[in-house]
Amino acid sequence: MAYIELKNICKRFGDVQANDSMNLFINKGEIHALLGENGSGKSTLVNMLSGIYSPDSGQIFVNGEEVVFASPEEAIKRGIGMVHQHFKLAEVLTAKENIITGVKGSPFINHKKLTEQIYNIGKKYGLIINPDKKVYNMSVSEKQTVEILKVLYRGADVLILDEPTAVLTPQEIKNFFEILRNMKNEGCAIIIITHKLNEVMEISDKVTVLRKGKTINTVITKESNFQELTEMMVGRPISLAIERTQIPETDKKPLLEIKNLTVAGTDKLNALDKVSFALTTGEILGVAGIAGSGQKELCESIAGLCHAISGNILFKGEDIVGLNPRTIIRKGISMSFIPEDRLGMGLVGAMDIVDNMLLKSYQNKKGIFIDRKEGKDIAESIIEKFDINTPSVYHQVKKLSGGNIQKVLLGREINLQPQLLITAYPVRGLDIGASYNIYDALNEEKQKGVGILFIGEDLDVLLELSDRIMVLSHGKVMGIMNAADTNKEEIGMLMLGQDIAKGVAVC
């Protein structure tokens, strides 16, 4: 009998059957991966185990005893804690304060004892943290450590981690996995949700694959492989290789040249500091870096949304610094930036797909009236080309799923037939099938001779898709390498601001 058992769990949201008679068995001292595409029901399932939702039917057993959780508090009383994908921390407070929030006890906090307790828990698992450090001063991985400590402090020995590695660098992931192994050796049960296959292979003991609200199978990781897991997850065989189409050097012409671009940041540091690079036609230049290293400012300054202090942006030899965004768009530069909330830039959520198309296409028309026919045509062609799942072209954009929203945005930008396409995080939160759609579309553009600046998160993808990779750290270019000649470790070091040749931090 397993320590945690979920049997025949069903959960329905409106018309959607999110969980359809799911089963999950977890043992202590085991790292169990939940693998599935978007909408496969992973999050719903663990949310029921952690007390956020309650199941419509089915049973949950902890240590052989049936339990019903009405709130996260009750789940934690049974030792089940969850670390959310988006951290739930009060930034202006210290680690210690965040850890103890909501814990019942005497009205006054014994700081000395608390620090000691946190230290002892941390020592047991290798979670090192300064309890008095303010959260806003912390790196992403430190914040994650605080989240984990928060759960452990409450006495949890079953940890649910929702996409914990999405925000970490390769080095940080390595440390993080080390911590997970320590916890496992101490007898904790760990459930890790992910859609990164290589991580599943590396860290997990067992994998349960979910698809469309059903548990497909649970397998022992060692006895399975990439191909088998992917097929279970997607439901059909799929090729995992991204083709890097080669464009002959002779066909490449200079397109964009950036010289010593400097952009002011919100604090004293510059968001971009003397950034220089060049991009040719028919080339994908990947940009790697920890979130907030200047990617956004780079995109925005090329698109004319953000003003440079100094430096030049030469587009086909012409300096476009200081031109307004509309003039820049007319020159053939398009940008699709997918922020974390997906809708924040580029699309208007409350408008339908046709109107969102018109936002850009109207500009080439004369007269004061808009031509809806054109917008409708564009919308229809994009829906067909990118296989967008929508009831009609008149469907409000914000009501589409995240992946479909991203396809609408990227589709619109590609439809403008740009010469330079800037795309940031185009596959953010997308599942495998949808991601490969987007990679194919980018490759297709590249073959047409478009120059692409691809700002990405997943280093594996960056390495496979890009021709060259530029690494940003604190607004500085740490290096530009041929994708074929570099590896994840090298990029990871550069992302952390470490100069490989010197082996020391430069900033």
Binding site: L89, A90, V92, L93, E97, I100, T101, G102, F108
Partner: protein, 323 residues
């Protein structure tokens, strides 16, 4: 001669502290609300409700404790309306707060109609009269400023320390801060977000009400329309001046009390100026505290320390993530 100057300064400071007392109550009340993420522009309204109900009950009963209780309850009642609309119904905080101020103003005028000619009983006046503390009262200047004051004035002063200690040092205070910084984090940690908001906003309202009653019952001792004269608005700005810190609010409140006193003291003073003598118009003097408020806000905004920023979730309603 020197002696009279010292006496004048002492009297000036004593009045400043008294003038600052309602501001202090209201600022503490507003801080409590904002600490749980609720910007309440109804401070002036809650003060007026407390002022009129406090005066009415003080007038009818003559009991000081009952007066305070009534004033606090009236303020809390105003806050309850605000809390229901903004916490439970998640309506816009700015609009709700402004509506509360307009409501409170009208309410106080209505209830106060018959109170205009009334005076309070001697025993009530006596119980709120300045108390002189032996020995300490003889310290030059400070003696008059702090040690010959009404119990009511000390109450505000002590309350600031209590609020500070509660927020900073207790488990409940920590939970309260997290609610204002990131309600989702509080919720996930098992804190009852709405309960904390209600309690905090209601306590804040009670403080505003008590602050209002100080003006009507103690400082002026008579009822007049819009008796708080915009103190509630100064308090809203002072919260920022004090960077949401109850102890800094003490300084802020007494400082603005001083500005208001200056306005009073020199309103009929003729000032010689190149052979002519001028009387500074009262209206101009009335502007001083508000002008200072604007200047202070500009200065505060220039300081960019993370700890001095407003609570992270200030002004936003909280929805538990639902699908």
């Amino acid at each position: 001669m020197e002696n009279t100057t010292v006496q004048m300064v002492a009297l000036f400071l004593q009045t400043s502290v008294q003038m600052g007392t309602p501001i202090l109550f209201a600022t503490l009340g507003a801080i409590l609300g904002e600490k749980v993420g609720h910007l309440n522009l109804g401070v002036e309204g809650m003060m007026l409700m407390g002022a009129v109900i406090g005066f009415q009950v003080g007038f009818s009963s003559g009991d000081p404790a009952l007066t305070l209780l009534a004033a606090g309850s009236a303020g809390a009642l105003g806050a309850l309306i605000y809390a229901f609309v903004t916490v439970t119904l998640r309506a816009n905080q700015i609009v709700t707060g402004l509506a509360l101020t307009i409501f409170g103003t009208g309410f106080s005028s209505f209830v106060g109609q018959k109170l205009a000619a009334e005076t309070l009983s001697d025993s009530l006046v006596k119980s709120f009269a300045p108390m002189e503390i032996p020995i300490l009262k003889d310290i030059p200047i400070l003696g008059k400023m702090f040690f010959s004051q009404s119990l009511y004035v000390w109450l505000a002063f002590i309350l600031a320390f209590v609020v500070y200690f509660f927020i900073k040092c207790t488990r409940y205070g920590l939970n309260l801060r997290v609610v204002g910084e990131n309600p989702a984090a509080a919720d996930a940690s098992g804190v009852h977000v709405d309960l904390y908001k209600y309690i905090s906003i209601l306590l804040g309202g009670a403080m505003c009400g008590i602050g209002g009653a100080y003006t009507s019952v103690v400082f002026i001792g008579r009822w007049q329309e819009e008796i708080t004269a915009g103190v509630g608005w100064i308090a809203v700005a002072l919260v920022i001046f004090a960077t949401w810190h109850p102890l800094k609010a003490i300084f802020g409140a007494y400082f603005f009390g001083m500005l208001r006193t200056i306005g009073f003291k020199i309103q009929n003073l003729s000032i010689p100026f190149f052979g002519n003598s001028f009387i500074i118009p009262t209206q101009l003097l009335d502007m001083i505290p508000y002008l200072m408020t604007i200047i202070v806000l500009v200065i505060i905004t220039l300081r960019k320390k993370r700890e001095n920023q407003p609570p992270g979730w200030l002004g936003n309603p909280y929805f538990r993530e639902d699908r």
